[in-house]
């Protein structure tokens, strides 16, 4: 299996999707000639031409709406929003149009649309370029929400998203693009809605999404040195939410720490915590803990920024306290 970066894996997926299905389009700002500001769409214009790989003006509402229109008659647009923060200028097409068209037409009009974007903090980009907005999308019925961590999943989940007949919000992480990993060649589809156990352990379960899986894995190694064996789960998707994989792990460990990069309150970790309480109350040896960013916009100064974000020591401390106190 070839080693690829996360960005290359995504590029590979887009290339395959464009090659396999003439209805697949790639659209967005600076994605054609320039190949995308994170190089995810590099070389696609040259290979597939300007009718398939379409540079757009800075009109997110306009071109997302247009992508929806094209999707309703059989195209499969994969639209890049350069930063997730810019989704805020285009929430109507996402929330009121793409998400609801299948339901409002009772399945007569489908919207096979992928919205690719990148999110996350840790780079000193300031408050308007650092958000993690996955829960905003997850709470809208009709949208699937994927956020891969491993390069192989980046490819496999993007291919699944393109083949999906409904709208998928596909969230990459700006600090993962250079992450390397083995990535299967050819068609590689990882179904949406399946979490992955990436490390086995019996004392505590650490659940992460996107880049937070990295923290969970590093924390697990540190915990192991301290005699605590953590199971690590890469959630991979918020919608569909694979609560079952977490429940099975919880039955073994009895303790769960959720690691969420988004701000603390009203994020996905709350939903997972609530679900575990509802579905696995008797298995809980200890309360589910959340390690998250604080409820403040992301500060620019990188020391301040780091201070409000999840960190390996914070995850380790939470896991240890659960193991010690319960």
């Amino acid at each position: 299996m070839p080693e690829m970066s996360y960005a290359q894996a995504l590029n590979d997926a887009l290339g395959q999707a464009l090659a396999n299905d003439p209805k697949v389009l790639v659209m967005g700002e600076d994605i054609g000639h320039h190949g995308g500001v994170f190089a995810v769409t590099k070389g696609l214009l040259e290979r597939f031409g300007p009718k398939r790989v379409i540079d757009t003006p800075i009109s997110e509402s306009g071109f997302l709406g247009a992508a929806i229109g094209a999707a309703t008659v059989g195209y499969r647009p994969v639209v890049e929003l350069m930063w997730v923060d810019f989704a805020m200028v285009a929430m109507d097409p996402i929330v009121n149009q793409a998400a609801k068209t299948s339901y409002m037409s009772d399945g007569r009009v489908k919207v096979p649309l992928v919205i690719r974007t990148q999110q996350g903090a840790g780079r000193g980009n300031g408050a308007q370029h650092s958000q993690s907005l996955e829960t905003m999308f997850a709470q809208v019925p009709g949208l699937k929400v994927a956020a891969p961590f491993e390069p192989a999943d980046a490819k496999g989940m993007l291919m699944a998203a393109v083949e999906d007949d409904g709208p998928v919000i596909f969230l990459e992480h700006k600090l993962l693009y250079t992450r390397k990993g083995d990535v299967p060649g050819g068609r590689h589809v990882v179904p949406l809605g399946k979490a992955k156990v990436s490390r086995l352990g019996q004392d505590v379960t650490l659940v992460g999404l996107s880049r937070m899986v990295e923290l969970a894995e590093t924390a697990a190694k540190e915990l192991s040195r301290q005699g605590v064996e953590a199971e690590v789960i890469d959630l991979r998707c918020l919608v569909p939410l694979d609560i079952e994989t977490i429940r099975v792990s919880l039955q073994k460990t009895g303790r769960v720490v959720l690691v969420q990069e988004a701000h603390r309150s009203f994020g996905w970790a709350a939903e997972v915590s609530a679900r575990l309480m509802e579905d696995s109350f008797d298995d809980l040896k200890a309360p589910v803990r959340r390690i998250t960013s604080e409820d403040v916009p992301f500060p620019y100064n990188q020391r301040l920024e780091a201070s409000v974000m999840p960190s390996v020591p914070k995850v380790v401390a939470a896991a240890l306290s659960l193991c010690q106190d319960y």
Binding site: P57, S61, G62, A66, G69, V73, D106, R108
Partner: protein, 317 residues
């Protein structure tokens, strides 16, 4: 098609729309509809004139006020009534409602409850037509108030730079809800907006089905032959409130009456009678026939069952 033929057909179609809207109002008053109801009474010439220039494979997007356009495009009256009544034979099995009419077979790609949201979607349908190398044309209907939404502008620019086969029909009925458009833009003609994108534009009398049709034919022809989008401002007037229950305090009875005297139906009737194409009696008979057809559709819809509640959970994705 000779002029004689199509104007008579157009009158009949306008009668159908009027009857459909009146029947809808009846349903609403009887408490049979949910939400709010926005009628296009007085704006029938725009629907019939503009849609008349389209082929069956062409597509339209509309607003909450657009069921008349959908009817003109070939959507079944019975299926639309059923939708409005929330019945299982509705265009969306009763799950969409009057603001969400989809009939892809007829090229009706959605009425929409968000002002201007259908315009970028129409641009995308037009992009698809272009990518398909088809000669399909897409038409999008919106109101005067919609030109103040960002989405309208973004779509206009996309249409211009991509030379999309798109016809933009602005129904300027002088008000957005209760607000006169003259207070919300500085120009007299909304067609001025098209100058910003060098899109060909025209202002037409939207109560005259002949001039609407003529302008629409030109625009459709331009789109079909790869010459890009056209913006048509159709000056018209809704003879009823913004929605059922609107107390209409923002306009005078006098203003309404002046426009009623200048309404699209009376004008077309008068010109057909004047030209000797139809007698007044023939008009009445046509209108009665349209009413009958629509009432039959209404009766049919009323007899349909509601969907099973289990259907509330399907087709989410």
């Amino acid at each position: 098609m000779g002029e004689q033929d199509w104007r008579v057909g157009a009158l009949s179609e306008m009668y159908r729309i009027r009857a459909f809207e009146e029947q809808s109002a009846d349903f609403y008053r009887q408490g049979l509809l949910g939400g709010s109801l926005h009628l296009g009474i007085g704006q029938e010439a725009v629907a019939v004139g503009a849609v008349g220039a389209l082929r069956s494979a062409d597509q339209v997007t509309m607003t909450y006020r657009g069921r008349g356009q959908a009817l003109a495009k070939g959507v079944s009256a019975a299926a639309m009534f059923a939708e409005m009544l929330g019945r299982s034979t509705g265009t969306s099995h009763g799950k969409g409602g009057p603001m969400h009419i989809y009939s892809p077979e007829a090229g009706a790609m959605g009425t929409n409850a968000i002002v201007a949201a259908g315009i970028p979607i129409a641009a995308g349908l037009a992009l698809a037509a272009q990518l398909d190398e088809s000669d399909r044309v897409v038409m999008t209907f919106f109101g005067d108030g919609a030109v103040n939404q960002g989405a309208f502008h973004e779509a206009m620019n996309l249409a211009a730079i991509w030379k999309l086969p798109l016809v933009l029909i602005c129904e300027n009925n002088l008000y957005s809800e209760m607000t006169p458009i003259r207070e919300m833009v500085v120009q007299d003609d909304l067609a001025d907006r098209a100058k910003a994108y060098a899109i060909p534009a025209a202002v037409v009398d939207g109560n005259d089905v002949v001039v609407v049709r003529q302008a629409a034919e030109e625009a459709v022809q331009r789109a079909r032959s790869g010459q890009g989008p056209t913006f048509l401002e159709c000056k018209t007037y809704r003879l009823v409130g913004h929605m059922l229950g609107d107390p209409e305090v923002y306009r005078t009875r006098d203003e309404v009456e002046r426009w009623a005297a200048n309404g699209p139906l009376v004008r077309l009737e008068a010109s057909l009678v004047r030209d000797g194409r139809l007698t007044a009696k023939a008009c009445e008979e046509m209108q009665a026939a349209a009413r009958e057809e629509i009432q039959a559709a209404a009766a049919q819809a009323l007899a349909e069952p509601e969907p099973d509640v289990a259907q509330a959970l399907t087709h989410v994705f």
